[in-house]
Symmetry: C3
Subunit: 264 residues, 3 copies
Amino acid sequence: MCTNQLEAAFASSYLQKLNRDKPLIHCMTNDVVQNFTANILLAIGAIPAMVIAKEETADFVHIADSVLINLGTITQWSSKSMLIAAQAAMVTQTPWVLDPVAVGNALTFRSNIAKQLLRFKPAVIRCNASEILALADKTSIGKGPDSQDSTDAALNVAKTIALQYQTVVAMTGKTDYITDGYTTYVIDGGDIALTKVTGVGCALSAVVAAMIGCNTNHLLAAASSCLMMKKAGELADKHHGLGTFAISLLDQLSLMNAARLLEQ
Amino acid sequence: MCTNQLEAAFASSYLQKLNRDKPLIHCMTNDVVQNFTANILLAIGAIPAMVIAKEETADFVHIADSVLINLGTITQWSSKSMLIAAQAAMVTQTPWVLDPVAVGNALTFRSNIAKQLLRFKPAVIRCNASEILALADKTSIGKGPDSQDSTDAALNVAKTIALQYQTVVAMTGKTDYITDGYTTYVIDGGDIALTKVTGVGCALSAVVAAMIGCNTNHLLAAASSCLMMKKAGELADKHHGLGTFAISLLDQLSLMNAARLLEQ
Amino acid sequence: MCTNQLEAAFASSYLQKLNRDKPLIHCMTNDVVQNFTANILLAIGAIPAMVIAKEETADFVHIADSVLINLGTITQWSSKSMLIAAQAAMVTQTPWVLDPVAVGNALTFRSNIAKQLLRFKPAVIRCNASEILALADKTSIGKGPDSQDSTDAALNVAKTIALQYQTVVAMTGKTDYITDGYTTYVIDGGDIALTKVTGVGCALSAVVAAMIGCNTNHLLAAASSCLMMKKAGELADKHHGLGTFAISLLDQLSLMNAARLLEQ
């Protein structure tokens, strides 16, 4: 693993702060990953709260430390709640993460919602290469929620989007790129099995939300999150099948600490 | 573990009845814990059925042995179904459990729904200390779905609510108190890891629903449920991380029997 | 296990094709099994995508290789999306699977939706004995989502439904019968634990969707899916409780190959 030791040191200190502060994360995420997301947030020491009713989202944004908005199983009514929450987050300056699951793909409804959400200034966009291309109206070869595009090829687009929306783009894949358009962190490693468990990307977006809920450097917070997920994927059991791998990934995240982050 | 042996004996006989009767539990619960709840009900021998459409809930209450209503990810449309189900349950005298997840917390929408639901006479309210304080309009220090209030401090409020609504309050935390306002069972033990897996409290509410679905003493049924969950938490594997712990908790519930309940 | 070796040989070649083609499966399924379904599809090499908004379903049917429609937690709004998707699938000749969870049971709302869906020509109906009886307006003794009826007793009804709707019925239970009304495959084996994990039947419906997404013989594709699930249930760990069994089932599906399918 060619992890930058500097990034691992940051990840380590950011994780310690997370464990100390126990940020409350307001999650508006998809139906497939609600349980996995909540368990991963608990595993790293954050407090997840899934609140989606349009009557409640704005109020809850006020008491949350950060917000996650994930478009996976978006519907007309949930999109309204998400727009209310994102607007409330902009007003209260609560940092929030946008996970624009499967935008593009001829799914114009969610693509339009994603663009409306971008106006409310997400702190981080966590996505794959196909999704960032879609946000920039570029042709993608995405198929469903997965990306067939390489993050290398999409890096310049990611930088452009980051600059355009004054945000951080955490674009993940075989190689993760985390960029604000000026500075870019590159994270390799991880394991192919991470792409064969549903919701790992979605859960990573939640980890980013937790990290920015207690750390103001959003670029390093996002990079730390990506590094932590790749490291957990490397440490997890890959010898018994994908069911065991998913459980072991959660185990590894719950056991993550400075020493494990720093080990080669 | 300082478990009351008398309670363990009751839990043991109640669990045997549950295994024999295989009650059908109509679950209206939140999106985070649907799977975990269904698997825990199956593990203890009950039959879960998640039915939420307002066109179906009243009819299904008629054929169910008990009903679970959990406000975790409540929305306007699901709240309507829940109100219909609770009213139907009162009419048919089908016992039902209210789990008022995260009431208080400036979430006035769900707090209002919870109070409307209370008029339909739940057999048991399963909650944490912050939630019982919120139901009594007391100031709580809850943060999201978790309680920062101690169950010891909230016991008198729990008794008052139990008397006011002629119900059983099963208030869980480090120490569980199960009370009808006259008699109170106290259950210690369990494990801190139980608070680090999402939906353990929600699943416990489902276990209570299963127990009251085939046992008419709701106070002892609720106490038996709390004891069984704490015992499973003690027996579950805590040496490999939180992913393994959650799976092992489910294992332990599926293997639970009189001998395990009674062992010190 | 008395598995037909011929069926195992087909299952083996169908699984190989699935691994090569990586079909995109448009899943419209219930809230209890979304995660389990997605992970099982990934485990066998398919790409799951849960798309439910009525604004998106018809467009997504166009790019999907097959569609799964499962009525488990149906609501008025999701039923509209499902009807749109099924109609689109008929028009585009995208094969689709109907899983009519818990029809009958005095649940007239979903029973009516199921009959409307049948007009849009599902390639396969994957169900239990109680559900096929309900689709034929016969009296069933189903209780909730589980079947108390035997598949043996319902076989003639299954054949009649298959002929009436020119479809394949994959009716599963202790013995699985997969029939188009003319030819019937019989699959024994499996394990009782498969009935004690929520969503195994629902996930099997998703496996059938994956198999018909890349194999045009829908009868053999469905039979192969049933055989594969029974085999995985036999190979999975049954010595540590139901939590471990569910994870091990996922492990076994991810490790499934020709040799394992063919071994006695």
